[in-house]
Amino acid sequence: MDYTLLIVQMLNGLQLGLLLFLVASGLTLVFGILDFVNLAHGSIYMVGAFICASLTLWLGNFLLAVVIALPLTGAVGYAIEVLVARRLYDKDHLDHVLGTFGLILVLDTLAHMIWGPAGITVPLPAWLDGQVEIFDGAVIPTFRLLIIAVGLAVAGGLFWLVNYTKLGMLIRAGASNRTMVAALGVDIQTLFALVFALGAMLAGLAGMLIAPITTASIGMGGQIIITAFVVIIIGGIGSMKGAFIAALLVGVIDTMGRSFLDSGFALFMSRDAAETAAPAVSAMMIYILMAAILAFKPQGLFPPKVR
């Protein structure tokens, strides 16, 4: 076993997992408190990436662009809440799925019209563009370390927000009993819109962080949203802790599958057959994981106490 490779791949898995967590946390937050299935969450991730990419090229500074793009993405989320989502809360999940499916088409096509199909490559400042040698031979790109750091910081921040601030208490309270929260004098509609915007910002941040790696491109949302849903379902919908653990689980399993499945298969089949079979199984792996978990825990790993 090549331990250097193993550790590097663990870090890659961690990075992917944390990125997934950023998307999934917004999703689970919105679902947890609003009981709203938002398939278009991935499109907001894409919008965040594009806004940040454009700003980076315009301002010539990635970090500054992120700082400006975050509230802008939040505003997009707020607008979506007011224009569409708000009208869907009272309907059933089926309507949520269809309505936000339509929203995906709208947002993706708009992005295509505004930014073109080519996507935008996002330049990084030199100090982020290099590599870090963690120990002998284990080198990973600086920017990926930054993603890990930001991901952990956001996870910590969310944990603090949800558990120790008044807003967090209201979010939890709203998740269990909206009527009572309103009856005690809290403007629940504004609270909902805020939560929605916060979710949008989290997804947007994920998009901004991935753009310097994979470029900002149309269609990027549709790819991540399903994985993000898998994450929150595995974790238990509405559970922040569940989303965190499931995101890391999915990130690591996916990366490990891509890394080691072929050599694993090669132990009992030909190299060629292994290289053919491995991508197949690794693509299905997270779905198999999800089906297996739901078969035993129909509410995911950490089902929320209420509802």
């Binding site: 299935v37 569409v84 088409l105 549709g222 197949a280 299905m284």
Partner: protein
Amino acid sequence: MLKMNKTGWVTLIGMAALAILPPLLLLNGQAFYMDLATRLVILAIAAVSLNLILGFGGLVSFGHAAFIGLGAYAVGIPAYHSMWGGFDLIASSNGLLHLALAVGVSALFALITGAISLRTKGVYFIMITMAFGQMAFFLFQSLEAYNGDDGLTIDLRSELPFLNLDEPMQLYALSYGSLVLVMLLVRMIVNSRFGVVLQGSKGNAERMVTLGYNPYVYRLTAYVISGAICGYAGFLLGNFTTFISPDMMHWTRSGELMFMVILGGVSTMFGPVLGASIFILLEEVLSSFTTYWHLPFGLMLIGVVLFIRGGLMGLFKGKGE
């Protein structure tokens, strides 16, 4: 004169139009519109099958496209082997074998995935069915033997007694006839003792349990029936396109099927057919105007969800119906 309500008339007129117009167009040399109608009718069968569990069973399956794909591959794989050799066990161009495989494999897949999925409820059910659909999608995407996600082009169609599916008119006749039969079948099931239990479980599962019914087995049965019918639609689709790709199973396809059912009107007989028709025609018309046709299409989707309660068939419903 038969006494009929408004929905009855809409159904009759719609089905008559589907019976008469496409052949007329074909005879006028408009082969493309015949193709369009064939695709429409086949997808309508799939939509009707989805409606059985979605509309009457309250089970929102977000992975139904997988059955279409399974049915199509049940045609493609034996045909492929009968053309290029290998895997003699199923290498065949016999349509009846294809048909049996399509229905059998779909039913089996429905039984296994349904048994697990139906343990969950609500949004979990939506998502786990989607996950199973994606599993099938990725499985076929990576089956190198059948060209993976490049898809399988087959140069022959199923050979059936009395029918030549290479003839567009006969293929259409088969598809249309199948649609009528499937609609009648679903209506029969829905009105049967099994059907009322299924609908009762949708309306109030708790009550059904206290009466001594176990909703799980009724739902699973309906899920299997629905999957088998949808697999049959896949059998037709495979024969129609002679090109079969994992794309047929992608989650967005399942979303489109759901949209057809909702657009037309859930738990109505003709609703899914109407929905499929509008969907196919809109797609055709909008995409001929602009590359950005997904924009108006998406807006319309949102509009339907927000404003048209009960789908288009709801507009025809009189009071007390």
